[in-house]
Each structure stands twice: as C-alpha cells, then as structure tokens.
Symmetry: C2
Subunit: 533 residues, 2 copies
C-alpha cells in the first residue's frame, strides 16, 4: 500500500496548459483525454521540451481509458516549455511548462558511463553496479512481485535485470496471467496445446502500468532496472519472440515512450540473443537502433549473449558490455583482460548463479559466487549475482527468475564487498596487469590483495611497482594493512606499519621483511593504504 501511494505521488499529472513542478531527473507526466476514432494506439503523439539551448523530444503513449500520456525527465534544472505534435487535432499543439527543481539527495540522476571504463550518476558520484537477476520481477503473481521488491529492499543490490516479455522456463511455477498485448483468442489445438492470438497493434495498458510501478519501486530503492527487451524463453508458448519487424518496432517505441523517462532504466536488447531463433545477427542492430533513436536521454544500452557468445560491443549504440561467460571470472587476471579489450565498462551479467539445481549454470556454492564477484572487481569489471535454490520436493520460488525471497548466502557478502568498493577513491583495477595475479589498485597508495580460495598463515608484505595509471610506490612509503574477511564480513587492522623498499625486481617489499599474520580462513582481501606522514 505504501508503494502504491508513493507511486501515485510520483506521477505528477497535469492538465492541459498547466505548469508542473518536478525535480531534475524526476519524471513529469502530462496526461490528455481524447476519444480516438479507430485504434487509439494509432494516434501519434510527441512533445518537444525546451530549456535554453537544450531540446528533447519524447513520444507519448496511449494508456487506455481515453487517456494519453507524455512522460518527461528534465535533465537540467529550470523551466522547460513544451509543445505537442499529434495526428489527433485535440492533442496537437498543446503547450505548457515544466519547472525542474534541484534533485533531492536520494536522486543522483541517470547513470551513464564515465567516459572510460566505469559508470557515474549524472550528478557526479561514481556508480558501481552490484546487480542481481529477477527475470520475472514484473510478470508473475502480484504478491510474489511485492515479495521480490521487499527482498530487494533489504539485499543491498543497486541493479537488477528483468524481462519485459513473459517467459516460460522449467523453473517457473506460475504462468503470467496479464499479457503485454490484447488477447484476441485463446484456444486449445488438436495436440492439446493452448494457442493464443494477439492484437500486436494494441498493447495492454494494465500490463505496462504494472511494469511502470515496479520500475518506480526499484527507483525508490536506488536500484537500476536493466530491462531485457527480448529473450529466447517464449518457447513457442505466446509468440512474443516472433511478432515481426513492424510490431517489434511498435513494441519498442511504446515501451521507450512509457518508461524511457524513468531515470533508473537501462536497455538490454536481449538476453541470450543468439538463442532467439526468430531473429538474425543483423536484426539486433536494427532493434538496437530503434531503441537508441527513440531514447533522447541515451540510457545505458547493451546486449547479452548465451554462454561465451559476444556481440559487436564496439557499436556506438552500446554503452557497455554485458557478457555471459564464466571463464573470465575464474581469475582476476582473466577479468582484467576483459577490462582491457572493449574500451567501455564491462559487466559479467551471467556467470552462473548460486544455487542447488541440476543445471550446471545454477549450482555455484555461495562461496564461489562471492569469489567470482570478487575476481571481477579485482579485475576492474562488475559481476551480477543470481540465485537458484530449489528445495527438493517443495515447489519453491527461484529468486533469479521468479523472485520472492533470497535463500542464499552470497548476497550479503556482495553487499559487504560493495561498501568496500564504494569507499575506494577510484575504480579498482589490476595494479600490474597480467603480471601480478593478486594485486589491484584504487589509486595512489591504495591497494587490494585478494588471497582467494587459499588459506594462508601469513602474507609477506609486497606490492608491485606498476600501479595502473597512478603514481608508483616510493621507497620509504609507509602502509597499513587491513584484513577483510569477505565471508565472515569482518575487517581487522594489522598492527604493523610497513615501510616500502626501493624497487626490487619489479616489486617493493617491507624493509624489515615483516609479515601480515592471517586468520585461518579463505576469501581474505587485504586493503593496503599508504599512511600519510
């Protein structure tokens, strides 16, 4: 109930010619009443919003009940004046203004890339994606959807991946009952299979209103919504993967018109694009361009392949890489290579999930899931969590897909790691790429050594001379070491202050050859910071 109220408050509706106030990066909504002749979805509607030199055009959309809406996210403070254009005279040449105020503290703006290999909020803070996966977050029973949101509110993730279109998958226990298009008929064929017919010219407002709501709930929790626009999990059940070029375009444009003005939206053209048999390699470029052209804000945009299948991530439409491949997470060195190749931020969005299923992609131990996420961070990329627990004999919900509650153990460790990453002054990356397999850097005098799956009694203080693009260690620099236990989620300071030698064979040692005494535990991450003198 609380969420529903929030949702209604967020939707600042307006009547014609009215002036409305919304915070920068918030979403202003104009609504218009019009009874269309024929299919109301065929009415074109768009508006251009202007503020000084800036001008942004967005499409409106039909939301049922003779209601048309235009949503707009002001990207600058100040007065934005708008004019509409429409094929319906009643909706054409409507004018008004939007007053964009300063964003409140929780609103740091849309996330974009930082121009290099990381992400930033538009307001300037660095954004480190620590995401999870909830394919059917907005698709199954409403009470499960709410439960999923509740779980996310406690988990510490700042991103999740969700499918727009219904999915059919062996782990699902519910089938969707609300669909993205108007159902024309539902029948059972001779083989006993349910056959649906859809009117793809008529999106179903109720379906998309629910989606809006879930995205805004995520926004309120500070969670980016990585929207998966197509996927191969229709499996011939509904046919949303074979609507054809014309309706794919209409679907995408409708979706972007609806949710493109929500600041926490990302576009993922597909999950496992190579497994979508109804679309060819080049089709994805066309679909990607449709989305990017419809989106005046340039939300983050990528595409995700099946296991170790990469797309043309160099395309300017793709702001970042979203790959599925476990191999590059087995070591921080392999992750580091991924950081080097693409010249864009990299997210490993599916590298297997924590779980206990019979599927090999869904049975990592929580320890190994945490380890893979850590390897990615040490390598300078980001890794997405997912969880797949089936309780034998019990029809259980699988968080990765169906949502509901988290049952695993890695999510808490990942939240702990997130804090460490966010405290670091720079994006963490290998200090001495492909030469040092345990040490990363987050700036001058700020290192991490990850001991991974080993249990060591002690560690001989030593750091590489190379330090990414940052200033190198100088002889006499003093360092303190904290022992971070990623599994127990503890941080303990080592009492010794270490003093760096000159460079000896590419490395610096402690002048007294002193050791860091370690607890008898794996998954230790040493945070090593220079002591300012």
């Amino acid at each position: 109930m609380k969420h529903l109220l929030t949702f209604l408050l967020l939707l600042a509706t307006t009547s014609l010619h009215a002036q409305t106030t919304v915070e920068k990066w918030g979403c202003a909504e104009l609504s218009f009443t019009h009874e269309a002749q024929g299919n109301p979805f065929d009415v074109t509607l768009e508006a251009t919003f202007t503020n000084g030199d800036q001008s942004l055009s967005v499409r409106g959309f039909y939301d049922g009940d003779n209601t048309y809406r235009i949503r707009f996210m002001p990207t600058e403070e100040g007065t934005w004046s708008y004019t509409t254009r429409s094929s319906a005279r009643a909706l054409n040449r409507q004018k008004g203004t939007i007053e964009a105020t300063a964003p409140t503290a929780a609103n740091r703006g849309m996330v974009t890339t930082d121009g290099a290999l990381g992400f930033r909020y538009a307001e300037g803070d660095r954004y480190h994606p620590f995401g999870t996966t909830n394919y059917a977050l907005a698709l199954f029973r409403p009470e499960i959807q709410e439960q999923t949101i509740q779980s996310l509110s406690k988990a510490g993730f700042n991103k999740t991946r969700l499918c727009i279109l219904p999915k059919d998958y062996p782990t699902e226990h519910d089938a969707p009952t609300v669909f993205p298009f108007e159902m024309v008929s539902k029948s059972v064929d001779e083989a006993g299979k349910t056959v649906y017919k859809w009117d793809f010219t008529r999106p179903n407002p109720a379906f998309f209103q629910n989606l809006d709501r879930r995205i805004l709930q995520l926004q309120e929790l500070g969670i980016e919504a990585d929207l998966i626009l197509f996927h191969p999990y229709d499996k011939g059940v509904w046919g949303f993967d074979r609507m054809g070029e014309e309706f794919d375009r209409k679907y995408l444009e409708y979706l972007v018109a609806r949710v493109g003005s929500y600041r926490n939206v990302w576009w993922s053209l597909a999950n496992e694009w190579d497994l979508v048999r109804t679309k060819k390699y080049e089709d994805w470029k066309t679909l990607t361009r449709i989305v990017v052209e419809a989106d005046p804000y340039r939300h983050l945009c990528s595409i995700h392949g099946g296991s170790a299948v990469y797309y043309d991530y160099h395309m300017p439409e793709y702001t970042h890489v979203s790959f599925q491949d476990e191999g590059p997470l087995f070591t921080m060195t392999a992750a580091g290579t991924m950081r080097q190749i693409f010249r864009k931020p990299v997210i490993a969005d599916e590298i297997g999930y924590e779980g206990n299923t019979a599927f090999r992609w869904a049975r990592w131990s929580p320890q190994y899931m945490t380890h893979l996420v850590t390897n990615g961070i040490m390598g300078g990329i980001y890794v997405t969590h997912g969880e797949c627990y089936n309780a034998p004999g019990v029809k259980d919900w699988v968080f990765w897909s169906d949502g509901s509650v988290l049952r695993g153990k890695s999510w808490e460790r990942i939240a702990f790691l997130r804090k460490i990453v966010e405290e670091a002054p720079e994006q963490i990356r290998p200090a001495d790429i492909c030469r040092d397999e345990v040490t990363s850097t987050a700036g001058e005098g700020y290192f991490f050594v990850y001991l991974g799956q080993q249990i060591m009694r002690d560690w001989v203080f030593n750091l590489p001379d190379s330090n990414s693009r940052f200033k190198r260690i100088q002889e006499g620099d003093k360092f303190r070491v904290e022992i971070i236990n990623l599994w127990d989620m503890t941080i303990e300071e080592c009492p010794t202050i270490f003093e760096a030698t000159e460079r000896i064979n590419y490395r610096h040692y402690d002048k007294g050859h002193r050791l860091v005494q370690l607890p008898e535990a794996p998954y230790l991450l040493l945070r090593i910071r220079k002591v300012e003198s």
Copy 2:
C-alpha cells in the same frame, strides 16, 4: 650464394611490351629505364592488370639507377594484360601481358582468413600460424641476417615478425649501417649525441632491396613475413618514428609498392603502438587505411599494442587480432574467451619470450613457453614464439631481436605441436567453452585433453557432451587414446579402446570406468579419436 641466385631467378624481369610468365601467386616484375628530371622518387607510376572480370591496380616504385619497377602478383591463372600510368611520358601507357600459370606445389597462395576464426592459403589448405619473432631480421650485419635465415630454415616456424624500420634496444650489439632513407648529414651535437638528417623524399634502394631479398628467402622457406611498419624503438636515435603525416604516407606507399606483391607479406601497423609517443590513437586508423588502400590484394593486416593494450580490432581493415597480453594464455579457458570475443582469428603475438634475461617479459622457461603456446592452441587461438638468451659475460645474439642462432628448447616442441595441429581435421577449439578447462575438439570424434603442468598417474576417460559446433558423442562410441608427450616429443598409443556411456551430468565416461595409464611427466596432451566401426 644459393639464396642470391634463387632471388634473381624469382625476379622475372621484363622489357617494355614484353610478355612474361609467372606462376599464380608468384611475383611478376616489370622494369623500366627512365632518367627523371628532379627527384626520381617524385615520378608517379602505376599499372592496372586485367584478366577477364578481374582488375588490380598496383603502384610502381623507383629502385635507383634510373630503374623503375612494377611488381604484380596474379591472383588467377591466365593472361593478365596491363597498362601503365605515369607522370613521366616515357613510363606512361606502357602495355603488355603477364601469363599466369598454375602454382607449383610449394606455392599455396596468399594466406587469408577463412571467413571465420582461422586462416587459409588461397589455394584452400588451412594455415595455422606458428610464428617466431626476429625484429631485426633485415636490419643488422648481413652475416647475421644470413645466419637467422639459416636458423629459420631448420626451426619449423611458418611465420616471423620483423621490423622494417631500424630499432635501438638495450640488447642490440650492432647498430644498423644501411638506412631506409638517404642520409643528408650525420654530426655530433654538443652533448656528444649523433644527429642524423634524412631526406624522407628519397628512400634508399639498397635498404629496401635487402628487405625484398629477406622476404623472398622467407617465402622460399614457407614462412610468412609479418612486417611491422612502425615501432617505438627508434628512441630518438634516427627519428623514423616522427617523419610526419606526409612522409609516413610516402614511406607506406613505397613499401607496399615494393613488397605488396609478395604473397607471404602481412602488415602489422605497429608493434606496441601505444608506446609510439609521436602518434596518437586516431593516427593509427589513418595509417592503417593508407596501407589497405594501397594494397589491392588485401594481405592480412593487424596492429599490436603494448602489454594488455588492445586496439579497435573490429575495424574492417584488420583481418585478425594481434595482441600482447600474457594473461589470456595462462589457461586454455582464458584463451578460449579471446577466441569468442573478436569474430576474427586471434594471434597472441607477444606473451613473453623464452630466455634468461633480467626482463620479466624475456625469461620464461622453455617448458612454460611451450605450455603457453599449447594453452593458446587448446583455446582456439595462436601464439607466437620468441627467444631471448643472454650468456652472462658474453656479447651474445638474442634471437627474438638480433637473430642468429636458436639456443632455446621450446622451438623444437612448438614444431612438434605444429604437426599435431596440422593433422587435425578442423581448427582446435574448446569443446565445452568455459565449462571444461582441459578438453578441446577438432571435429566429430576428435578431442584433445591437455594435462598441462600436472603430473598424473592416470586419467579417467571422460569427455564433455558439448562439442563446439560438431556432432556430440553418442553412447557406444568407441575411442582410442594417444599419449603425446609435448616435452619429449613422443606419441604412444594406449592399448585400451574406450566405450562412451550415455550423457551423465553433461559428460560421457567409459562404460568400464577404465583409466589411461600415464607416464610420470608433465605437458601431456591426449589425442582421443573415435574408432570407426
């Protein structure tokens, strides 16, 4: 002497209007005498060769001594007629024909990509690059150059990387004495440094004639010449890395005119492009396009960065990837990732060298060098050898750079591995990418299991159900196993015939749970082939 004769025989010179015969993929050479007014290098000269629908245009070049030459490689058998165009009337509108005959057995044509992730000779055979590195192959004392060629004639490599422009490097004992441009002056400045002045409008024919000769010697040995067009090793000594845009272009066009009609030429725009301080990121695109536009044959073309620095390999000008990064060779899984990303063939052209120097990039053991090459092959990419032995106290030659003799131990193992790779029916690649870290496939019923640095007593017969794009194992398939010792270079057959179970948890085992007994040795590669029944 033998080589010089061969060289002269290969150069089928011709007088005006003559008809000359050359084999397909051989090099026909037209020569013209003309005494230019002014700088003879300023005379433009090109010719178009036509054979039916095919038409290829190449530039000619001035070779000193009032001699102009046009070289042409016929890409089809038959009669090619040509017409010249020149700014000098005497060289203009010269006409004639070239008769291209069937290639002899040793001539399999120019190497190109196979349209996927491998290479082929134009005549159809698959080409697997097993290369080495001889930066100064054509640069230092002639007797050392000859010695290097002699070494290569015995080594078993089918590719080498060599620099065109002189290099200065701590391991060199000789400085070049013949230079690519006419020297205007040589003096010593106040600081005692030798200062050269060059006329970049006048290439030095003697320098390039030697280069021609070395390339043709390599060709005769079946070795591809991967020509490095720029590099960061000038170190302010001669200034060939800062000629400026106009002279860079002239240099490239002159070089392509001279050697672009030799079938074994590849273009590598640079070694360690990022370390060439005089050129910017975008400059490499310009330079690459100059080469590709000047080359009507579309020789293989790439660019090579410093450690873990990748370029925009998606550019259509680049036929393949040529990276420097050791990390992706530490495991076959990491190499397999590289195979997946680029949608082009991948060569790891510098992953450290076998040697004993103080430099960490030049002190791999021969065992580890062999291991890295094998990891690459198992991952579906190719890895280049190099060798850097310094004998303490002795001014020795370093094969990687200076050339001369091979002193290491990996080259022989790599030649042995090459035979195994060439026997395989398909390019080797991971059978079950990122899931199986030891098994590769070369087709239906043709697997390799690499046990790497482990010494195992026995190996439980087991293979993955996934088999890249090839047909999977069926229950009842029978296999024989050979134990290949990559270090001892032996192949031993295991007496047992194994019989595959049905798929059990993604794998197939032997029905009798039988083992392969192994010798007590590391670097074992099992070749497992289906027995045809």
